[in-house]
Amino acid sequence: MIQLQLEAIEKKYQNTNIKNFNLSVKYGEIYGLVCDDYDTKKLLGKIITGLAKPTKGRVIYFSRKRKHGATHHLRRVGIATDDVYFYEEMSGYENIRLYIDAYKKRLNKLDTLSMNARIEQYFKLFNLMTSKNVPVKKYSQGMRQKLKLIRAFVIEPRILILDDPFVALDPVTIKQLIQHLKFLSRKKGVSILLLTTMATFLDTFVDRIGLVRNETLIDEMTHEELKFHQQSYLAVQSEQLPYLLTVIERKLNIYDYEVVNDTTVHIVENLGRLKTLHKILMDEGVHVQEMKYGFDSLEHFYLEKIGE
């Protein structure tokens, strides 16, 4: 069942011109939308969250049509985009409480105690407990990012829209965030749309990925398809790189390789045959420092896809 759908969206703003943009996020799915520039991502985020009205097309939440400016559907949508701001004089905790007040109708089943417990649970998850009563003006960029995420999670949404959620976060928090996103999608059925210009980390947990180039969705693939396309290679490191290349070309007839730096080459072709490579290199007197299997990162795949 589709939870969020962009149907033939068109919108022009300054140099960004989105034309016939279609996208859908299914129930319990994590969808990563990788954009090639910040402006496209920003404009798409504004259209999806309702801050900008598309010239043509529509955004459909929970398979229901809505008018521009309607807000009812947002009761079940957690948003962490650049448009989320905090009142600087208030503490992080007060900001979240203030935000929750806007959801009183839906959350009034919960008493103050359970609501406080829920907020604290997220402050603990993001390691912000010690700063929860500190005014937001004293927060670092990373702390503000965490607060944005808390704001999106705390309302128990059915759809999450996250704009570059990993920005300014430390590795431990990133790991926890990925685990939590997986938990929300797998166990709670939350549909998650990640808008990003950085493909890092996405390939490890998204169910589907969309690649945007020049304001157009150029490709869409599932996690499995992505893994299939991400090229495996054997990385060989040697100080004698020119001699190493001569050997693999003349003795093994391998020409599909990529020189990564002065000492390393990635061999892509016929990985099965390469089991004998080490022996041949030894026989030919090539001094190999390291040999290991690897696969291309999503960024690498994306750059290849867009021809960069």
Binding site: Y13, L43, K46, T49, G50, L51, A52, K53, H68, G69, T71, H72, H73, L74, R75, I79, T81, D83, V84, Y85, F86, Y87, E88, E89, M90, E94, L98, Y99, D101, A102, Y103, K104, K105, R106
Partner: protein
């Protein structure tokens, strides 16, 4: 709506505008008192309260009252704060109206605060026990002044929305106040908007076309309110 007004209130109490507005309103009766004491001919009971009303209508209606309304549009990253609350399920029209109501409520609180100071000063300095009766008698006038100033609040909010800051709209309103006063001194009947404060305060009687002036004034307020609602609800927030 009550919940939204509470949210707005929680936001403003943390700002410097809140404290500053009370400080300035506290100074207003002092200025009235000083002007009275400078009068060589002396004054009668009730003059202090009347002068306070006149200054409120002349000065505060175009300075402090609109500025507090403008601050409601600007508090918390200006329009960014508004964008942030638009990402919640609250109806946009209600969000705008909560700000408009909050501006009016804040102004009413300031007027009551000013009245309280007038009463306290009258009691302490002049031991005038009739002050309660005088103030009660003029409560209706204070009410009219609130409605009169409300129009400037709405105009101030529109100007802030268009210009994007508080300073320039404040300067525009202060310039208007000075021009209004000057024109009123020069052409008493020709510039009727300037006659409204004096008429409301009871210092001057009704001019032949004062009702037309009030009608136009209220009309401007309504146009400003409609513009505010349409603009804030339907505009794209692309920046």
């Amino acid at each position: 709506m009550n919940n939204l007004i509470k949210i707005e209130f929680k936001k403003i109490v943390k700002t410097t505008y809140f404290l500053a507005s009370f400080l300035i309103m506290g100074i207003l009766p002092m200025v009235s008192l000083m002007l009275l004491l400078l009068q060589p001919t002396g004054f009668v009971s009730g003059d202090f309260n009347r002068l306070n009303i006149l200054l409120m209508a002349l000065v505060m209606s175009k300075t402090v009252f609109p500025i507090i309304a403008m601050s409601l549009i600007q508090i918390g990253h200006g329009l960014s704060g508004l964008k942030s609350i638009y990402l919640t399920p609250i109806n946009r029209g209600k969000i705008i109206m909560s700000k408009v109501w909050m501006a009016f409520i804040w102004m009413t609180i300031l007027i009551i605060f000013s009245i309280a100071i007038v009463v306290i000063i009258e009691l302490i300095l002049f031991r005038n026990m009739k002050v309660f009766g005088l103030v009660l008698h003029t409560l209706k006038i204070y009410g009219y002044i609130a409605l009169y100033s409300f129009v400037f609040q709405l105009v101030g909010m529109v100007l802030t929305l268009i210009i994007g800051n508080i300073l320039v709209p404040s300067l525009i309103l202060i310039s208007y106040m000075i021009c209004e006063y000057g024109l009123q001194l020069q052409y008493m009947i020709s510039f009727l908007p300037g006659a409204i404060p004096a008429y409301l305060s009871g210092v001057s009687g009704a001019y032949p076309m004062i009702n037309t002036a009030i009608f136009v004034h209220v009309g401007i307020g309504l146009v400003a309110l409609v513009f505010l609602l349409i603009k804030l609800i339907h505009q794209d927030y692309l920046d």
